[in-house]
């Protein structure tokens, strides 16, 4: 028979393993979402560079594809693992985050360039907050993309910023997704 200290250590081991399994489930589905957002962000920034006048429509299209993609990923993951990672509350949360961002841009009367930098930084704020709760990967990905976005905002002139953001935001999310799959 073991003593209470050993029993407590065994229970801590169990809790730690359960936490790792849950984190792994979150990483698995989040990494697919990151890869999807990486490709979308890259494509939307490049499309915005080619057709700057249609930037708003390009991004609205990217968000619509992203919402449909998230539903598809959620359904795919659920059919494979029978674990529901995303539900209606997540989509409502995303809608509220987007709505708040739109309000800020509207009341702040941001220029197109400021919006190009604002949205990735704003979205990465939530990644970093998620990192505090669910795993350091989100925190590192978020902080790196914020830093690179600020560098681009201050040092890349004119519309070339969109190409920088295609590489930084799109590439950063894609690499982040691939890295997360390995963790």
């Amino acid at each position: 028979m073991i003593d209470s200290k050993q029993a407590s250590e065994a229970l801590t081991d169990i809790e730690d393993t359960v936490r790792r399994v849950r984190q792994s489930q979150i990483y698995q589905v989040s990494s697919l979402a990151l890869l999807m957002w990486g490709v979308l962000a890259c494509a939307a920034n490049i499309a915005g560079w080619f057709w700057p006048r249609y930037g708003l429509y390009i991004w609205l299209g990217a968000y619509a594809v992203s919402a449909v993609g998230l539903v598809a990923l959620s359904a795919y993951h659920r059919s494979k693992s029978r674990i529901r990672v995303f539900d209606g509350r997540y989509f409502l949360t995303f809608a509220l985050i987007a709505a708040f961002g739109i309000f800020v841009c509207y009341f702040g009367q941001f220029t197109a360039r400021q919006q190009t930098a604002f949205w990735p930084i704003y979205i990465m704020l939530f990644y970093m907050m998620a990192g505090v709760w669910f795993g350091y990967a989100f925190l590192i990905i978020g902080a790196t993309i914020v830093a690179l976005t600020l560098i681009g905002y201050f040092y890349i002139p004119g519309i070339s910023l969109l190409l920088w953001m295609a590489a930084v935001n799109g590439g950063g999310l894609t690499l982040g997704g691939l890295w997360m799959r390995r963790n």
């Binding site: 028979m1 229970l11 081991d13 790792r20 849950r22 792994s24 693992s81």
Partner: protein, 99 residues
């Protein structure tokens, strides 16, 4: 007085059972992911899974995904019951009712 389950109590087997038990019934974990989650080596993990399988606590399914062999380990109903009793016993020991 409940007894600790000697098969489950070994540290790596405890981790394996904890990981599998965290999933819904009949959902398993691939060997590679289980290895990552438990931090075990291939040989060590394989040997302990075999011990758990012999006790009827886990089932092991081997299949080919494309050309790659894939081993999936799933906790059985017997294994889940044994794990729940083992955890309850640990909690009793901490509460001072045993040990």
């Amino acid at each position: 007085m409940a007894e600790l389950d000697d098969i489950i109590h070994q540290p790596l087997r405890l981790k394996i059972m904890a990981a599998l038990n965290a999933l819904p019934a009949e959902v398993g974990l691939e060997f590679v992911r289980l290895k990552k989650l438990t931090g075990a080596t291939d040989g060590n993990l394989g040997a302990h899974i075999e011990t758990l399988a012999k006790a009827g606590y886990v089932s092991v399914d081997k299949a080919f995904v494309g050309k790659k062999p894939q081993t999936t380990v799933t906790a059985t109903a017997v294994g889940r019951g044994a794990f729940a009793r083992h955890v309850a016993t640990l909690q009793e020991i901490i509460a001072g009712r045993q040990g």
